[in-house]
Symmetry: none
């Protein structure tokens, strides 16, 4: 085997871990977590399944590592948000930056969105839920009336789902993101005004 190894294979030196993550995320997003087997990932990389186990202890750990790498910005965003006053400007800034973060890791969020059931019993499911909870605490005023709370929740997953549910609408992706951002900002703003008057 070693003898027949072609040049492209030798060149990729120590980046196998990264390549596994890339391929895995691609397949997870495309086919779902359960439907994607380690065999499939290995074949795409032209390695054996056992090689995956050199780099990751389990299938779940592959996902965890991807998740941890790509959602760090959200953690930072929440931490930053917690330290700000709960003004309208803060909320709008959170929404703006969240939108950017999502755009930067679209396949992962698409995956999380479309595999909620599969992910629920995985560590990433729990973690993701906690982060969403953190986000809400910053954006939602617990004393606001129910409708305004719904507006905030709606704002968040308008951003989540926006990217994928809008596939049929033909428009420049960045233009779509801007439109989504505008709607989300509107929702948060309305919610804020509502509770300010209450």
């Amino acid at each position: 085997m070693g003898g027949t190894m072609d040049v492209t294979k030798q060149h990729r030196r120590g980046n196998t871990r990264q390549r596994i993550q890339d391929v895995a995320l691609g397949l997870f997003a495309e086919q779902g977590y359960e439907k994607t087997s380690l065999r499939e990932i290995a074949e795409h990389l032209d390695v054996t399944k056992a090689a995956l186990y050199y780099h990751f202890k389990t299938k779940e750990e592959i996902l965890v590592s991807i998740f941890d790498d790509l959602t760090q910005p959200i953690l930072d965003l929440i931490e930053w948000g917690r330290k700000q006053p709960h003004t309208l400007e803060t909320k709008q800034e959170i929404v703006r930056r969240y939108s950017e973060t999502l755009a930067g890791a679209a396949p992962l969020f698409r995956f999380m969105q479309e595999n909620q059931a599969a992910v629920r019993e995985l560590r990433v499911g729990e973690t993701f839920k906690e982060r969403m909870q953190g986000l809400r605490e910053i954006i939602i005023d617990p004393d606001a009336d129910l409708t305004d709370q719904v507006r905030c929740v709606s704002a968040i997953f308008t951003m989540h789902a926006g990217m994928f549910f809008l596939q049929d609408i033909t428009a420049d992706p960045e233009a779509k993101r801007k439109a989504v951002l505008e709607v989300a900002t509107d929702l948060v703003t309305q919610a804020h005004r509502g509770s300010a008057n209450a």
Copy 2:
């Protein structure tokens, strides 16, 4: 065999098919489609796996049958909507009735929402997509600007996700539904006004 069968099991009348659907939907919604095995469904019903195959040709067909039974109202709604003028009132009525339909088949829609990846390659996935497309055509004005189109899409899945994403907010379910409906109606209304002025 027959001798050890207890009395409750005999004369189960003709309701096994329905019971399979009920149990299956419960498990599909709770654990996801892939994670729910036919063995599990059969055990919950105290029947053998083979009995399931008397009533349904495949696992997928169980899902299809549930889907077809529970989404008939949406089909009716779309058909009705197509024949109405595209006024604001029509759109609001559609949203109102859609909200009711969703509430009437919450577990199924939760399932569809949380298993998009798993469902994508199933017949129900395709069918569901088509129906969503139908809904949009009624609510969205294709000449409206992008932001207003996003508002309409957001309205639809604010209703979809509303029920599940709001679990942490403690409030009467019907009150939540009303709040969600209000936000959705608002979004559609804003969108309509926007494109009316354009």
Copy 3:
């Protein structure tokens, strides 16, 4: 169900047993014994599987009944042959009549030919073997040299296989049968002459 039964079904009265045999033989010959399920047979007849069990005790018994019905002529032929002197004329007559019998129940013999493995452990397998043995005892002279014995065996299954192995050769079926018969007769004749001189 009874209420929706269409007219064609009512007309076929008491011939179900025969129809089962016909359909079963067709499918057995076409697909093989193991590959043909009772479900399939029932569907072709537009009856339920259980109905088959009203007429036959087991799957094997369907085959047995077909076999017994269609191979009676061979039994008669062997019985007749045993009472004749072992002359060349007798042998030639046996071959001639055997060829006719085969032509009259081609699907069954095709089936027996192509499903020897499946049939080996069935009652018909054993029975068929015994009959073949009976045929040989009439045609083969046990004192003949090995080559002449082979000629006789070859004559018999030249006839057996002739019908199916000759499919690619385009010619009138009856013409083919005549040709096969001629070759078989030749073989038996040569064998007889050989042992006569020995």
Copy 4:
């Protein structure tokens, strides 16, 4: 697990694939293709079913690999035959070498002979048919009269079936093969003479 594994099982070198083929062919020939389950093959080898799947993608592929390995000589023979003049000597030589090939892979040919129905829808079935066709084209003169064509076909499967149909005749196997070869050669010779005079 590893702890209870006995010594003979460790270091089974690289021969598992070959052992699977051997056991499988034995069982296929003895019981038929459909009647032989992978469980059975695995048990004979004291391995798990899953181990079979490490070496072969499907049950059918086990058969294909056996077939390909053992019928290579026939391929060679046909190729050789095509390049020779269609003289009597060539035909006789083909028959002689074919007889040897059959003797060298008797269980496979017995299997093919007795499982025609099962094999018809498998890749090997198609392949085998093509090879037989190739053989005929060399041996049969398409302008010969039907009887002589039948003689050639008869020659071929006199050799095929010879080995198994002759089980009841007690004689040295090699002696039987010689006898079969003689009959087959005779048939081909007669056919050749016939068409030469035509």
